[in-house]
């Protein structure tokens, strides 16, 4: 994956190309919970969400087994999946499990080493927002969306695989 424009500060952009201000705050594990739109670490989320009210964000690291979040998903509005380096592809599986196995329908955000050349794959796996390092985040989304009109396989974006187009039901 390219390191294009990786010197740019990350900007929050949706899969529709809207650039937004990030209202969420990542808490350290010993921070108090009082803030609005708090993002909890994965460990804290699975330990504490059961006893909490309201809706939270959760930060998932590549090695975290996201299925452990299943009992608490009704309290989760945002999941940030961390990509510490673009070569670490575990977050793609995390995203598909969240969307297609656990049925998570909140905001699924890619954070970390997120560059324009990954967007196509990320969107297919179910991400709908990105902390993107790019000079032109909206343009990057447009570009990623224009790359391929078809896909050979189904994933989390609802695109029908080519075989379904070849054999309409």
């Amino acid at each position: 994956m390219s390191l294009l424009n990786s010197s740019h500060a990350p900007q929050l952009v949706s899969d529709q190309g809207e650039v937004n201000v990030n209202g969420w705050t990542l808490l350290a594990d010993d921070d108090a919970l009082g803030v609005d739109q708090a993002v909890l670490s994965f460990g804290r989320a699975i330990n504490e969400l059961d006893g909490l009210n309201g809706r939270y964000g959760v930060r998932v690291a590549p090695g975290d087994d996201v299925r452990k979040l299943a009992p608490f998903l009704s309290k989760v509005a945002l999941i940030e999946v961390a990509f510490p380096g673009y070569r670490d592809g575990r977050g793609y599986s995390t995203a598909r499990i969240l969307r297609q196995d656990l049925g998570f329908d909140g905001e699924l955000r890619a954070v970390g080493d997120v560059l324009r050349d990954q967007l196509f794959w990320m969107m297919r796996c179910g991400f709908n927002s990105f902390l993107l390092k790019d000079a032109d985040p909206a343009g990057a989304i447009r570009h990623a969306r224009s790359l391929y009109t078809h896909a050979y396989q189904s994933a989390a974006d609802g695109l029908k695989p080519v075989w379904a187009l070849r054999h309409p039901a």
């Binding site: 994956m1 390219s2 390191l3 294009l4 590549p62 673009y86 070569r87 670490d88 592809g89 575990r90 793609y92 599986s93 995390t94 598909r96 499990i97 297609q100 196995d101 050349d117 196509f120 794959w121 990320m122 297919r124 796996c125 790359l147 391929y148 009109t149 078809h150 896909a151 050979y152 396989q153 189904s154 994933a155 695989p161 080519v162 075989w163 187009l165 070849r166 054999h167």
Partner: protein, 547 residues
């Protein structure tokens, strides 16, 4: 063979347009080499010691004459007039200019070819039996399933950043000619579905694959693979590239535990969305019919007369043809291992000649084998002598298939930046040492496989004789392995004796062979069988000059 429809064309065209733009940005200096590297690697473009190398996918080794002519055109127009057929059933061009690559990819797209996923940590080209659809011992044709896997794995969004590259091999015959046990996943097609082997591989820690599932139905193959890849993607090691292949995960978990996790993951998948329906499998299968066989009257007596009159032809028929499912046809292997030349290389003129041969005598179809040879899968016996003469006029009639000089060798220090030692010149020396046809035939079936370093691109672990280049205080040395095999009785060779200099290797092999000829029960006992019967220790002494 498979033909693209509008969707397949659109997919390749889109990728080529994207890459063309990236090359232009690189040439204008908008991208640095660091930024460009991951992009070019997704398109099979490597930077080697001296120049760019382009690796083109030959899907499961199946090639039309028209595609072969395009390779000839690329060799002539953009390279130094030759190309290199590889152990991955692909072709590489070693002297490519960056500015030419978009045009090359366009030329390839015109004949339904590309270089997508020939590098990078993704699912690579699926390899298979070079005699698929032709061999007498075939149970079912693996090619439609290889094509199914090709489509499913192309731009798979979840598996583009795996811990490491991923290679799948598939065979549908009783004899394993695809080396499925040394691939990340090996698939054996049986009359009850697929046997799935996982965790094979070579490199610095070779493993043989473990059977984790039997009787997997063909229409469930893709979802099962998706589950297998997901477990690997999530739990394969990423902290150390030498421990990142699936073989390490499978041996750490144990094959049973890995299999259990795959089953568990498989059960969570929406299989109906992943597995192509029967209609699609049937559509793909329809592209792989038997050829419209020519009913050529074939007269054994005239073949025997030609053999009696031309000893070279007789030998070529004996060594380079394989029994076909039809009695009046054979499969022909064109050896790319002539004496003293780099294994797997072919000139543009030779590529054109092979394409002509396929059109005139082989129903327009060719294959590449992992032994780095080219195959005409269907040839009428009545045409053999004419075919032989055409090949002979083009330096393509080496009659050494399966013999000691039919070696596999990796690019080694001549091209590769990771190499410890040269592979190609050593292969050339050995082929010169054993150039005598009578001796070669007397020795019989014997596979030598040479790698220039521990990465094992030359399959040295599974050579009957493996040769591994090592670096000893700045000098090139070679270790000899004995007892490996890549077939249905797959085994890993073991280093035997001390390292040898390049000059010493051919002599050591001569002594080894001499001893084998003394020890074998008779000429039906192959080298590998004698090593199996007596143990490799019996041969260790012969590798070293008597003091």
């Amino acid at each position: 063979m498979y033909q693209y429809d509008q969707f397949d064309h659109a997919m390749v065209a889109a990728r080529n347009a994207e890459f063309k733009d990236q090359v232009e940005r690189r040439l204008k200096g908008e991208l640095s080499e660091d930024q460009f590297k991951p992009l070019r690697l997704m398109n099979g473009l490597y930077l080697q010691l001296h120049a760019y190398m382009l690796r083109i996918a030959v899907p499961y080794g199946v090639l039309s004459s028209r595609q072969m002519r395009t390779f000839a055109h690329i060799a002539r127009t953009y390279d130094r007039d030759f190309g290199h057929f590889t152990t991955r059933q692909n072709i590489q061009f070693n002297w490519i200019k960056l500015a030419d690559t978009p045009q090359i990819l366009e030329d390839l797209a015109a004949v339904e070819m590309h270089a997508i996923q020939t590098s990078g940590n993704c699912i690579r080209n699926t390899t298979t039996d070079q005699f698929a659809g032709a061999a007498k011992d075939e149970i079912d044709d693996p090619r439609p399933f290889a094509e199914l896997i090709r489509q499913w794995s192309t731009f798979h969004p979840e598996f583009t950043f795996l811990p490491r590259k991923f290679k799948i091999a598939i065979t549908g015959a009783t004899r394993d000619r695809a080396a499925i046990r040394v691939h990340d996943i090996g698939l054996q097609l049986t009359d009850k579905g697929f046997d799935v082997y996982v965790g094979g591989g070579m490199g610095r820690t070779p493993h043989l694959g473990h059977l984790i599932k039997s009787g997997l139905p063909g229409d469930k193959l893709l979802s099962y693979l998706e589950a297998a890849l997901r477990v690997y993607n999530r739990y394969g090691r990423r902290d150390n590239i030498y421990k990142a292949r699936i073989k390490i995960l499978v041996s750490a978990l144990g094959p049973q535990e890995y299999a259990r996790q795959v089953e568990e993951e498989w059960a969570t998948l929406d299989q109906a969305q992943i597995d192509a329906p029967h209609a699609e499998i049937a559509r793909i299968k329809s592209f792989f019919p038997q050829p419209a066989y020519a009913e050529k009257p074939f007269d054994v007596a005239s073949l025997e007369r030609a053999k009696a009159a031309d000893a070279g032809f007789a030998r070529w028929v004996r060594n380079n043809t394989l029994a076909h499912r039809r009695d009046d046809h054979v499969s022909v292997t064109i050896s790319l291992k002539p004496t003293g030349l780099p294994p797997g290389d072919a000139s543009s003129a030779q590529m054109d000649a092979m394409a002509d041969a396929a059109d005139r005598f082989g129903y327009g179809e060719l294959r590449v084998s992992h032994e780095q040879n080219v195959i005409l899968p269907h040839v009428a016996k009545a045409d053999l002598y004419e075919l032989y003469r055409l090949l002979d006029q083009n330096g393509l009639s080496s009659a050494n298939v399966g013999k000691i000089t039919d070696m596999i060798a990796c690019p080694g220090l001549d091209y590769c930046s990771l190499a410890n030692a040269r592979s190609i010149p050593l292969a050339q020396d050995i082929s010169q040492r054993f150039a005598d046809a009578e001796l070669t035939d007397k020795i019989g079936d014997l596979q030598i496989k040479i790698s220039g370093c521990i990465n094992a691109c030359g399959h040295h672990h599974v050579g009957h004789i493996g040769i591994l280049g090592v670096d000893k205080q700045g000098e090139e040395f070679y270790q000899i392995l004995l007892g490996g095999r890549a077939d249905e009785q797959a085994a890993l060779g073991v280093i035997t004796g001390k390292g040898l200099s390049a000059e010493a290797v051919p002599g050591a092999l001569e002594r080894l062979i001499k001893l084998y000829l003394e020890l074998r029960t008779d000429e039906t006992e192959r080298f590998i069988d004698t090593v199996g019967r007596l143990g490799r220790e019996a041969f260790a002494g012969a590798l070293h000059e008597p003091a």
